[in-house]
């Protein structure tokens, strides 16, 4: 009974998405570990890590779609939550290095020895344990989102203004983390990780394990997001997106609804960042750069805003394109392509790739019908008018 309801809740598209994630989670590590390097079925560890990275981005995109697509909060600073989660994980991995650093200090990471730290700063306490670090991965972005959102939503900062102050937030963090005296490695960030829970992070097996965990986390994130948007609460969020004042007049506490989804989304972004760091092996302040956050928004826009699956799809497609473009003679044209894509998507396909697919389906099912699906429910057009 519960399973049946759950399946219904996920819709066909959601089930398809989960199925694909499951297949990827099994197939790719299997191809990596089971087949020898010479086999045509072998997938290199590099490719696996790359796909793992895309999946982290997909999680991040789902988190962003939850607030933007369903609640109309365009965050241009979501990268801050992603990076904070990443830093929390990075700090755990730094503490795991222990005396194997260049300076062989039993407790202090290399950069602290280099900067003449005498003892571990308070912010680093407890990060030798993974459960504590995992808690911080959720707590730090969540707390920042709570404080920021509480202030912003309560004073009804909305729309463009909110976008600009979220951007200012990540910009301020970007500047702060560059400073050496913040105690988070400054410009170089955290890197040279050795192991996680005793397993070598560079080892093929660990990487495969991390990949599987990322897939599971992605599936869980998607299911939670889906649960949220399909619930009554989710319907209120959509109402807020489309007509905030009207929802308020109906008696809903708009601020509370917004704040909850905002904090949940920030935590999801934090988890995505935490899984991202051990796979790519570095976290530095550039992750806070405002441009990263805007890029993430574009993944969502390209995939299809307000669909969750579309957001994940957009993240994977754009990043795959980025890898293709930036690895050869096309490198100089990547920004042309990305920028052009932004313009094209916003002008020509406001519902993204998923929207294209839907309209193609609709046309196939009802040939000759005049209903243009692009017009039927366009969230952005509505929110503009009072």
């Amino acid at each position: 009974m519960i399973t049946a309801r759950f399946i219904k809740l996920l819709e066909g598209r959601g089930l398809l998405f989960l199925a694909i994630v499951a297949v990827v989670a099994v197939l790719i590590p299997a191809c990596n570990l089971m087949f020898p390097v010479t086999s045509p079925l072998h997938i290199t560890t590099g490719t696996m890590v790359l796909i793992g990275k895309y999946l982290c981005y997909a999680m991040f995109a789902i988190a962003l779609d939850l607030v933007w697509g369903y609640c109309g909060i365009l965050s241009l600073g979501h990268g801050a939550f992603f990076a904070l989660g990443g830093y929390a994980m990075g700090m755990y991995l730094m503490r795991q290095i222990g005396p194997r650093g260049v300076y062989a200090h039993p407790v202090l990471p290399d950069f602290m020895v280099f900067l003449n730290y005498k003892e571990l700063p308070l912010a680093w306490w407890g990060f030798q344990s993974l459960p504590y670090a995992m808690m911080m991965v959720l707590l730090v972005p969540g707390l920042l989102a709570f404080v920021f959102g509480w202030l912003a939503f309560r004073s009804r900062v909305t729309g463009v203004y909110l976008s600009i102050i979220t951007q200012a937030m990540t910009y301020a963090l970007w500047l702060s983390f560059f400073r050496n005296d913040m105690g988070f490695g400054g410009n170089n960030g955290l890197t040279d990780f050795k192991d996680i829970l005793g397993f070598n992070v560079q080892a093929q097996g660990t990487r495969a394990g991390l990949f599987v965990i990322t897939c599971i986390a992605l599936a869980l994130t998607f299911m939670i997001a889906r649960l949220i948007v399909a619930s009554t609460y989710g319907k209120v969020l959509v109402a807020i997106r489309d007509a905030e004042s009207r929802t308020r007049f109906l008696g809903y506490r708009v601020e509370h609804h917004k704040l909850l989804v905002w904090v949940v989304s920030a935590m999801m972004a934090g988890v995505a960042g935490a899984l991202y760091v051990p796979q790519v092996g570095i976290i530095n302040p550039s992750e806070f750069h405002p441009a990263n956050s805007i890029e993430a928004v574009v993944w969502v826009a390209i995939g299809g805003r307000g669909t969750l699956v579309g957001a994940a799809l957009g993240a994977v497609v754009v990043n795959w394109l980025k890898t293709m473009f930036t690895s050869g003679w096309l490198a100089a044209y990547w920004l042309f392509a990305l920028g052009g894509l932004f313009v094209l998507v916003t002008l020509a396909m406001p519902k993204g790739l998923i929207g294209l697919w839907d309209s193609w389906q609709a046309r196939r099912k009802a040939p000759g019908s005049e209903t243009s699906p692009a017009r039927e429910a366009e969230p952005s057009a509505r929110e503009a008018k009072p």
Binding site: L74, L76, F148, L151, A152, R154, S155, R156, V157, T158, G159, V160, Y161, S163, I164, I165, Q167, A168, M169, Y171, A172, L175, S176, F178, R179, P290, A291, I294, V297, V298, A301, A332, Y333, W334, L335, F336, L338, G339, G340, L341, F342, V343, V345, T346, L347, P350, S380, A381, A384, K385, P386
Partner: protein, 533 residues
């Protein structure tokens, strides 16, 4: 004591002679003849005569004499000297020469040596070149050589440059205060001289003297230190405010175009920074054209670049409005994304075209250098930018308030349908407004090319600050933008000494975020229903 008296007398004599200023050249030649006599009295007469000649080369010759680098050839009466680096010169012509083997160094005794020193000090203190006088006065201030006192007094009478005069006064006071024999009254007078000048060196000198001072002198000095410190603090505040205004004018310049596109039209133009960048590159191109074709008119390239940058960026702005933005009116978030994409394309286009490295835009002659105002150093470049910013702001106000296009712009933003019903071509006005905002961003680029690196990333560094300024000031309010820019500029500079540049900026950002919570519509919010869109 007697020697000192003698030195003073000699110096006074020299100065008097110098003031008489006899025929130049002639005097030097005659003086040089005397060196060949190889007698102390003749040499002394020569030194006096050289000092009297007032020729710049005389200093080199006397310097050489003091260091035994001056050579006389005896019979031919030729005189040569070596400079400190060991190169030989003919003393009469000042041209390089090889010193003949027969020439012997001119001899000195102790008395003569003092005469030479006094003459040297006098000559430089009375030199026609103010920079030289300044250096001489500083040297006296450091050495506190009592022998220079009389020369100093005379130099003070003649001195007209205030800065040099101040240094001389301080030097004089330093001599008086370091001599334990001077009476109390003249000491107090000296302290008061220092208070009147009141700079960093002066306060150090007063502190030194304070240790040994007693009675009324001590009181005067203590008061003096307080006075000077207060004056310095005021000066520091003035300097901070000036730096703040200077930074504020840069912020205003970068934000003012955005105040039109974002503030008046409500379009989130993330490519605004790129318009600034394109203005800067226009300046670069204009300057290169001048450098290659009309190098003598290079100073004119900047004034010419201003209208050109306006046209280039403005035309691009119109194209962007017609090509992209008009499809997105009423959808601010989509506009934001599309213009961000556009900014990436423009950046990459400039990077492909001009290369990723910084381009050099040189400052015209009238923008380099600095002057002193109430003890503050003010560079002409910064002053011009402040003036230029205010000029641009005034022009913009004029366009909006006093032209028919400005009237139409305001009508369209206030009530588009009514404006349209009145026969205003709203689409045309939209394009013109966006073009105006972009053009002004281009003009800002001309000014920013003078103080920032002209690189494809130029615009990026201003975009967030610009949005902050516009939002802080209140959207749709040009005066608010002005006040916000200067407030942020000054606040930044006030915080800088305590927190450092980066942390100061972070604090400002956090304060701004908090401020927007308190007043979501900025400092000077527009009132009425129009806001509630």
């Amino acid at each position: 004591m007697i020697r000192q008296l003698y030195r003073r007398l000699a110096a006074t004599l020299l100065v008097l002679l110098a003031m008489a200023a006899p025929a130049m050249g002639q005097g030097l030649n005659e003086a040089l003849d005397r060196f060949s006599a190889d007698s102390f009295s003749e040499t002394e007469a020569a030194v006096t005569a050289i000092a009297a000649s007032g020729e710049a080369r005389g200093v080199d010759i006397l310097d050489a004499l003091a260091d035994r680098r001056l050579f006389a050839a005896g019979a031919t009466k030729d005189v040569f000297y070596r400079n400190a680096a060991g190169e030989g010169f003919d003393a009469r012509s000042g041209r390089p020469a090889t010193i003949p083997a027969g020439a012997a160094p001119v001899r000195l005794n102790n008395r003569l040596r003092n005469t030479v020193q006094a003459a040297l000090g006098g000559m430089t203190l009375l030199s026609p070149d103010p920079a030289r006088r300044q250096r001489a006065a500083e040297a006296v201030f450091r050495s506190r050589d009592a022998a220079a006192l009389d020369t100093l007094n005379l130099a003070l009478v003649r001195e007209t440059v205030p800065k040099v005069r101040a240094t001389m006064l301080e030097a004089k006071a330093a001599i008086i205060l370091s001599n334990p024999a001077t009476p109390e009254a003249s000491r107090i007078a000296a302290v008061q001289d220092i208070i009147a000048v009141g700079d960093h060196d002066g306060i150090a000198l007063l502190r030194q003297t304070l240790a040994a001072a007693t009675g009324p002198l001590r009181e005067v000095i203590e008061q003096g230190i307080v006075t000077i410190e207060r004056r310095q603090r005021i000066r520091e505040v003035g300097q901070t405010v000036w730096f703040g205004i200077s930074l504020g004018s840069v912020l205003l310049l970068a934000a003012i175009g955005l105040a039109i596109t974002f503030g008046v039209m409500g379009v989130i133009n993330m490519a605004h920074g790129e318009m600034v960048m394109i203005g800067a590159y226009t300046t670069f191109v204009v300057q290169e054209v001048f450098r290659i074709n009309f190098p003598h008119l290079l100073d004119w390239s900047l004034p010419l670049a201003i209208p050109l940058a306006f046209l280039v960026a403005g035309a691009l702005g119109v194209a962007i409005e017609r090509g992209i933005i008009r499809f997105l009116y009423g959808r601010p978030l989509e506009t934001l994304l599309a213009t961000f994409g556009l900014s990436l394309v423009l950046q990459q286009a400039v990077r492909t075209w001009f290369g990723p490295t910084n381009r050099e835009v040189s400052a015209p002659s009238y923008m380099s250098g600095s002057f002193e105002f109430l003890g503050m150093q003010i560079t002409y470049g910064r002053l011009w930018i402040v003036v230029f910013t205010l000029f641009v702001f005034a022009m913009l106000l004029l366009v909006l308030k006093a032209t028919s296009l400005g009237l139409q712009m305001r009508a369209v933003t206030q009530n588009r349908r009514m404006a349209s019903a009145m026969g205003i071509r709203t689409r045309f006005v939209d394009a013109m407004t966006f073009g105006l905002g972009s053009g002004i961003a281009g003009v800002a680029g001309v000014a920013l090319s003078q103080i920032d690196n002209v690189s494809p990333n130029l615009g990026q560094s201003y975009i967030i600050d610009s949005f902050m300024v516009v939002v802080f000031g209140g959207v749709g309010n040009l005066w608010g933008t002005l006040v916000a820019a200067f407030t942020l500029g000054i606040a930044n500079k006030v915080l800088e000494p305590y927190a450092g540049a980066v942390l100061g900026k972070i604090i400002i950002l956090v304060l701004l975020i908090l401020f927007i919570q308190k007043r979501p519509r900025g400092l000077f919010a527009l009132k009425g229903r129009a806001v509630e869109q």
